[in-house]
């Protein structure tokens, strides 16, 4: 028989570690001015432009467009000379005061084409404040709905204590991932939201296999101490946890490296989330079930 690893021994260490990470990320994020919502959520304008003139750089573009206070970033291979220029609506009221949003953006574009010769517009996006508001609301609504639906399913298929464990791990994963976005200054746009919601599925998927085993072992040998059952279950499923995380990671890693500019943030968030999801499956989900069980039987 294989030796059972005592994962639960580290449960307070891991809890402390997670809290420390969240606080650290949060503090760094707040130095950046909190979460960086993309134009999808606050409204704004984003344009990807290719310059023929090789002497153009981020500085010269920023200077030429200084009145619009844009974010300028070079993307893709350096020799392509492609830049992403974006500017957000400072506030929802900005559009109401006098000029409409589109004219502000048209001014930016006109200025750009007037200042630099021979440019190709690769893509252009403008989002009004109303859409941003609508998207933000529905994103929050979805996030909450997803938690409730998964809790219900787990409570129905398993027991309520497993629901608690899975949700603890899920919320842990999402909070850390969001804090990570804040720390890294990753723009929260629609693909990033998709990545976060995928983590919902991934996190719970990863956890359930262990819970399934805890339940099974518990039914066969009910006399065992619950914490031992948990340790045994985690040990038995450990290779599956690692292998699945690895294969998923391979997929995401290749997206991260080769997937191009548009998917870069999406892949970054997923990559981080999968590591965290694997960790929380072992060190957060199961201890939470144990804690709930202990608290209840007290």
């Amino acid at each position: 028989m294989e030796k059972t690893i005592d994962f639960l021994k580290y449960r307070f260490v891991s809890l402390g570690l997670s809290i420390a990470i969240i606080i650290a990320f949060g503090v760094i994020a707040s130095f950046h001015g909190g979460l960086n919502y993309g134009i999808d959520f606050v409204g704004g304008y984003k344009i990807i432009v290719k310059f023929e003139d090789k002497s153009v750089n981020e500085g010269t573009i920023r200077q030429a467009l200084s009145e619009f206070n844009p974010v300028v970033q070079q993307i893709g291979e350096p020799d392509k000379n492609e830049y992403m220029i974006s500017t957000k609506l400072a506030s929802a009221t900005e559009s109401v005061a006098g000029s409409t949003t589109s004219t502000k953006f048209e001014k930016l574009r006109t200025k750009l084409t007037a200042t630099f010769q021979n440019i190709t517009v690769e893509s252009e996006e403008s989002v009004g404040p109303a859409i941003g508001e609508y998207l933000r609301k529905s994103a929050y609504k979805l996030a909450i709905m997803a938690v409730i639906m998964m809790m219900l399913y787990l409570a129905f298929r398993f027991e309520f204590k497993y629901s608690v464990g899975a949700m603890a791990a899920l919320i842990h994963d999402i909070v850390i991932s969001v804090a990570f976005c804040g720390m890294m200054g990753i723009e929260i746009d629609i693909p990033v939201i998709a990545a976060l919601l995928t983590l919902y599925g991934y996190s719970v998927n990863d956890t359930i296999v262990i819970f399934d085993r805890i339940r099974e072992t518990n039914e066969i040998k009910s006399k065992q101490i619950f914490s031992e059952v948990i340790n045994k279950a985690i040990t038995q499923t450990l290779s599956r946890t690692v292998v699945t995380s690895l294969t998923t990671m391979f997929a995401v890693l290749s997206l991260f490296i080769l997937g191009g500019e548009v998917l870069h943030n999406f892949a970054t968030v997923l990559l981080f989330g999968i590591v965290v999801g694997t960790y929380s499956t072992i060190y957060i989900a199961s201890p939470a079930v144990l804690a709930w069980e202990k608290w209840r039987t007290k």
Binding site: E122, I131, L135, A194, T248, S254
Partner: protein
């Protein structure tokens, strides 16, 4: 092998062959027919040939058409070619699989083929001011529907074929235009309000025009774009010797399946406008005393006088055409003089038809101006770069996963890899059947599912390993492994399905695409792992001498 197993084998083989067939239109070569106008010069033809001179394409020249075939022919390219000099028409040819099985193919999203995506909303504040009261939710809804009707009516002005116009939520409208060349022109066409007028139909010349059409345009498809239709109209007007006081327009009908407004037959109207759209105050759908669906309208005080004139005795028996942006949308008979300023239009409408008509009339009475609240334009090069990056990431990712599985699970890994390939084929086949639109996030979802798809195999193999360790025979371990793993796989995948389902509810297009690939990927990976792979192991364990499984 038992009889049951032979049936199973045939079932699986059939699924594989059929799926492979279904993905042919998507991954195989596509064709496009470019038709040149009679006036096309040799240079014009050369220009088109030059556009497709790269090795990716193959050209076949006929009398006045060129058939281009290649893998990456899209709607965007078709729309690009359509505005070349001397090109009369360009259309994508259907793949024989599409013809035979009525199958569809996976289309590329605008982020991959390039194009323009717009979300519009009616300017509610302006309308509120005009009618002088708060808009209820029902009002806003109705206004959005009216705007939708207006946009469908002027779709040809966007200069592209294969556009998609559909409501998003209750109040906004989403427009997708693949490969649009002139975004500013499109925005201008959207920014203007509709022009509605009422004009008397000339029956004599209308029937002459009809006869001309029957003779000269019997089997031919009418061009959708107004500019091309205008050429037909000019030719016809000349040949039937139309007097200067009259004008030929087309009667437009709604295609029941797509909702698109298409030209149906010519109709000759007086140039003189009897009433303006603004002469009518209101239009609603109602039922008359016989229970028929009718459109009831009320004119303004000024309009009442004009209406009485238009419906006076000399016009009885004639038709009054309702013309929106130069398209005749209805032409009811004038039965009696209407002097009271209100009347109704009947004509055996269905409720939906009547509602459309009421909306058109309202568009004249209370024009809706639209504002663009979201705009995304992707150029063709960025789209092409994205596809290449996506495909590269996909191939590299999947190859690494496959190699890893073989190293870790040996023969078992090889079987899982075959499962992965089958999974890919099934997924593409289902997405093709659905006529799915593949976006960049969709490609990411596809790859991600591949990473997660092996999970089912991993769970099964680990379980079988454990059972063998417990001392079970290979055969028993396989059976127990699959059985025990079933509910584990079911439960764990169902939560991911829930996440995908919730993502799908998240309105915007690209995310929906991602959710659909995730959803279908999970279903198909469950099927492959629990049915196909299991079958492979059943066959392997038929061999009673087998002592050791390489997993």
């Amino acid at each position: 092998m038992s009889r049951g197993m032979i049936y199973k084998l045939f079932f699986i083989l059939f699924l594989i062959v059929f799926s492979a067939l279904l993905i042919l239109p998507t991954v195989g070569t596509k064709g496009m027919e470019v038709k040149f106008a009679a006036s096309a010069t040799a240079d014009d033809i050369e220009a088109v040939k030059k556009r497709f001179s790269s090795e990716d394409y193959e050209l076949k020249l006929n009398e006045n058409t060129i058939v281009v075939s290649g893998r990456n022919i899209t709607d965007a390219i078709m729309n690009e070619i359509r505005i070349y000099n001397g090109v009369a028409d360009a259309k994508l040819l259907k793949h024989w699989v599409e013809e035979t099985f009525l199958a569809k193919k996976i289309n590329l999203g605008l982020d991959l083929q390039g194009g323009m995506h717009l979300v519009l909303q009616a300017n509610f504040e302006g309308i509120q001011e005009k009618i002088g009261r708060e808009l209820t939710e029902k009002d806003r809804n109705e206004i959005a529907q009216q705007a939708l009707e207006l946009l469908r009516n002027r779709i040809d002005k966007f200069g592209v074929s294969e556009p998609s116009i559909r409501p998003r939520g209750n109040e906004a409208i989403e427009i997708q235009l693949p490969g649009v060349k002139d975004p500013a022109g499109v925005k201008k066409a959207i920014g203007t309000t509709g022009r509605l007028e009422y004009r008397i139909v000339d029956d004599k010349y209308s029937s002459l025009a009809m006869a001309w059409m029957k003779q000269n345009y019997k089997d031919k498809q009418l061009p959708e774009s107004y500019d091309e239709l205008k050429l037909v109209i000019d030719e016809m007007s000349k040949s039937i010797e139309l007097p200067g006081t009259l004008e030929t327009l087309f009667f437009y009908k709604r295609d029941k399946d797509t909702g698109a407004i298409l030209p149906d037959y010519p109709i000759v109207l007086q140039k003189e406008v009897s009433l303006l759209g603004t002469d009518i105050q209101e239009a609603t759908v109602d039922r008359d005393e016989y229970g028929q669906v009718v459109v009831v309208f009320k004119t303004t005080a000024e309009g009442a006088v004009k209406f009485a004139e238009a419906t006076s005795e000399k016009n009885h028996g004639k038709k009054l055409a309702i013309v929106l942006d130069n398209k005749v949308r209805n032409a009811p008979n004038i039965k009696e003089t209407i002097g009271s300023g209100s009347g109704n239009i009947s004509g055996g409408f269905t409720y939906a038809e009547a509602r459309t008509l009421a909306r058109i009339i309202k568009e004249g009475a209370l024009p809706v101006d639209l504002k663009i609240i979201e705009e995304r334009t992707v150029g063709p090069t960025l789209g092409q770069d994205s596809i290449e990056a996506g495909i590269k990431a996909f191939l590299v990712g999947i190859i690494i996963i496959m190699i890893f599985m073989i190293i870790y699970y040996k023969v078992g890994g090889f079987i899982a890899d075959i499962g992965l390939i089958l999974n890919m084929i099934f997924m593409l086949a289902i997405l093709s059947l659905l006529g799915f639109t593949l976006t960049l996030p969709g490609m990411a979802g596809f790859l991600l599912t591949m990473g997660m798809a092996v999970d089912a195999n991993v769970i099964i193999y680990e379980r079988i390993k454990e059972e063998i360790k417990k001392g079970k025979s290979v055969r028993m371990a396989v059976v127990a492994g699959f059985e025990r793993a079933f509910w584990t796989i079911f439960d764990s995948n169902l939560t991911t399905l829930l996440a995908a389902f919730i993502l799908f509810q998240f309105g915007t297009g690209p995310i929906k695409g991602f959710a659909v690939t995730l959803f279908i990927g999970i279903l198909s990976s469950m099927f492959v792992a629990l049915y196909v792979t299991r079958f492979v192991y059943e066959i392997i364990s038929l061999n009673k001498k087998i002592k050791k499984l390489h997993i």
